[in-house]
């Protein structure tokens, strides 16, 4: 039996599945928004703002989900502050520690961007739009974008930095989740703006398709890296079927096909986006729960 089978499941279940999914979307959406801010046109601004609108609530929900998953939620702050000395608690080699700080940072920057975006459309004093514009905006976008990437990807690194079956039997999970976060972030942006057909949208569509192809490649490499001894007990069952149908077919291949053959007319883009989101969700479900089931 592979060594990872002598371990116990941490019982990370639905809270974490949703956290990984929503955190991925939020991080991906922010990263996309930041890309548009930093390198795009003024015409990209509505979509980038949409990215901020998604990112900040996403970060809040992520935080709540993470806290809810704790067995002692009232001690969530122990992640950040040592309860006995009140010094910061930070272990750079512990993904969960770094992740807590990363989520905090992401929440902070996405909040700034969120405020900036609201200022930009006049819901808040105009002066605050400087948070996403000019030099400060660059800083917020760069740091927020990086933390967004981090948030989307670290969850996979976290799973790999264990001794559990599947998770620790590969080093590709972080990349997979990152790519999936990016694609689902893009998909949500596409879904929410499906009526428009701006260059930004076209860019997003294009980008999402490429991302999905990358995701497929990463997934294949990941499964290959895990090895049969682990795959057989973990994925040669209903979970594997779900992965093939829900992720590979529904979440990746069909959206790609739709991109090249928009058979559903106006509904093609939102349909593809929904499928990508569904696939991204199922990916988290399968990757977490198939290992937990061992």
């Amino acid at each position: 039996m592979p060594d990872s089978f002598f371990t116990h499941a941490p019982e990370w279940r639905w809270w974490i599945v949703f956290y990984f999914f929503i955190g991925g979307i939020a991080g991906g959406a922010f990263a996309l928004a930041a890309l548009l801010r930093l390198f795009g046109q003024p015409g990209d601004r509505p979509i980038s703002r949409l990215g901020y609108y998604i990112a900040f609530p996403g970060s809040i929900i992520s935080g709540i989900l993470l806290i809810l998953d704790l067995k002692r939620p009232e001690r969530f702050w122990h992640m950040l502050i040592q309860s006995e000395t009140f010094r910061p608690a930070f272990k750079w080699w512990s993904p969960i520690s770094v992740g807590s700080w990363g989520l905090l940072a992401f929440g902070f920057f996405s909040f700034l961007a969120f405020v900036g975006a609201l200022a930009e459309i006049g819901w808040l004093p105009r002066g605050l739009s400087g948070l996403i514009q000019g030099r400060l905006g660059v800083a917020v976008n760069v740091l927020g974008g990086l933390s967004g990437f981090f948030l989307a990807g670290y969850t996979g690194v976290l799973l790999s930095t264990t001794n559990r079956p599947l998770w620790s039997d590969t080093v590709w999970l972080g990349l997979l989740f990152l790519v999936s976060g990016f694609s689902t972030g893009a998909a949500l942006l596409l879904l929410l703006s499906w009526r428009s057909n701006t260059p930004t949208i076209r860019w997003l569509k294009e980008l999402d398709t490429w991302t999905l192809m990358l995701e497929l490649v990463v997934l294949v490499i990941l499964l290959a890296s895990v090895g049969m001894a682990v795959l057989r007990p973990v994925l040669f069952n209903a979970w594997g079927v779900l992965l093939l149908v829900g992720v590979v077919l529904v979440g990746i291949l069909v959206p790609i096909a739709l991109h090249f053959r928009p058979v559903l007319g106006r509904l093609t883009v939102p349909s593809a986006a929904v499928l990508v989101l569904v696939g991204g969700f199922i990916l988290r479900v399968v990757m977490l729960l198939s290992s937990e089931a061992v």
């Binding site: 060594d3 990872s4 002598f6 371990t7 116990h8 499941a9 941490p10 019982e11 990263a31 996309l32 890309l35 548009l36 801010r37 390198f39 046109q41 601004r45 998953d69 067995k71 002692r72 939620p73 001690r75 969530f76 122990h78 992640m79 040592q82 309860s83 608690a89 272990k91 080699w93 512990s94 993904p95 969960i96 807590s100 990086l146 990437f149 981090f150 990807g153 996979g156 690194v157 790999s160 930095t161 264990t162 001794n163 559990r164 998770w167 620790s168 590969t170 080093v171 590709w172 972080g174 990349l175 990152l178 790519v179 260059p199 930004t200 860019w203 980008l207 490429w210 991302t211 990358l214």
Partner: protein, 274 residues
């Protein structure tokens, strides 16, 4: 710092009496599963089945018989937290709840743990679980409180056959080596030590004499730290982030090119790099 202390568990003399399990529960005031009302497991005489938050010692029973009984062995082993010198749980714990003590043992501070369970997933031996009464991660403390008072851990004191021996690691290693030689001399060539040297996680402060391969006892042959995956995993992710960023930039550049081309063709909207 005091001398490193630990357990040497000699499974060749374990009689599977489970005194260690109960002595542990009694000293640490751990509850029985479901108040003791549980079902027969059907796995030989093992009905506690695993180490977990309320089961810090667990006796395994392995019936090793050939159909003709030419081989007949009933292996028993009292399992416990290994108190690894390189402890996976300690490594990943984000709150600092898990500490290394002055005895070189690994202890989860119950007033700090917030139940994130990363230690559970990290432990290569499946030692840690949440205690449903406290909702914190729990495992053997090697009776930290007793050690500080100069007492022997409850399980080692209870063990009738000295299968569980407690003492300074250096001394235990010598004893283990002697016992191994004694068994080899007696023709028990399958006997081996597990975790007695640095090859496994820098050394297990609770190490074993086994009568067969580790896998037979449910022990990983080559347990590793979870952090082995951190750098490659993080590097791949970082590279992925760069790749995705570049992908986006390429797209944006293409978009701009398209736009400039369109502008050249007709009078399009002016653009500014943002």
């Amino acid at each position: 710092m005091a001398e490193p202390m630990g357990f040497f568990t000699d499974t060749s003399v374990c009689i599977g009496c489970k005194a260690c399990e109960v002595a542990c529960k009694a000293w640490n005031q751990l509850p029985a599963r479901n108040g003791g009302k549980v079902q027969l497991s059907g796995i030989s005489y093992d009905n506690t089945v695993e180490l977990n938050g309320i089961q810090w010692r667990h006796v395994k029973f392995i019936e090793d018989f050939t159909p003709d009984r030419s081989t007949e062995r009933w292996l028993m082993m009292s399992d416990v937290c290994k108190h690894c010198v390189q402890a996976a749980c300690l490594e990943v714990c984000p709150t600092g709840a898990i500490i290394r003590t002055e005895f070189d043992t690994v202890v989860i501070q119950q007033n700090v743990c917030n139940g994130c369970r990363s230690c559970i997933a990290a432990c290569p031996f499946g030692v840690i679980e949440i205690n449903p009464e406290t909702n914190t991660a729990m495992k053997c403390t090697l009776c930290y409180d007793r050690l500080q008072a100069g007492m022997v851990p409850a399980c080692a004191q209870a063990c009738p056959t000295q299968s569980i021996q407690f003492g300074p690691i250096s001394e235990l290693r010598q004893r283990a080596q002697q016992r191994l030689e004694q068994l080899h001399a007696a023709g028990v060539m399958q006997a081996r030590l597990y975790g007695h040297d640095e090859s496994i996680l820098g050394g297990l402060n609770a190490f074993y004499l086994l009568l067969d391969e580790p896998g037979k006892y449910g022990l990983p042959a080559n347990p590793q730290l979870p952090s082995r995956n951190l750098a490659p995993s993080a590097a791949l992710s970082a590279a992925g982030a760069v790749a995705l960023g570049l992908l986006g930039l390429v797209g944006l550049r293409k978009q701009r090119m398209d736009r400039l081309a369109a502008e050249e063709r007709g009078q399009g909207e002016g653009s500014h790099a943002g």
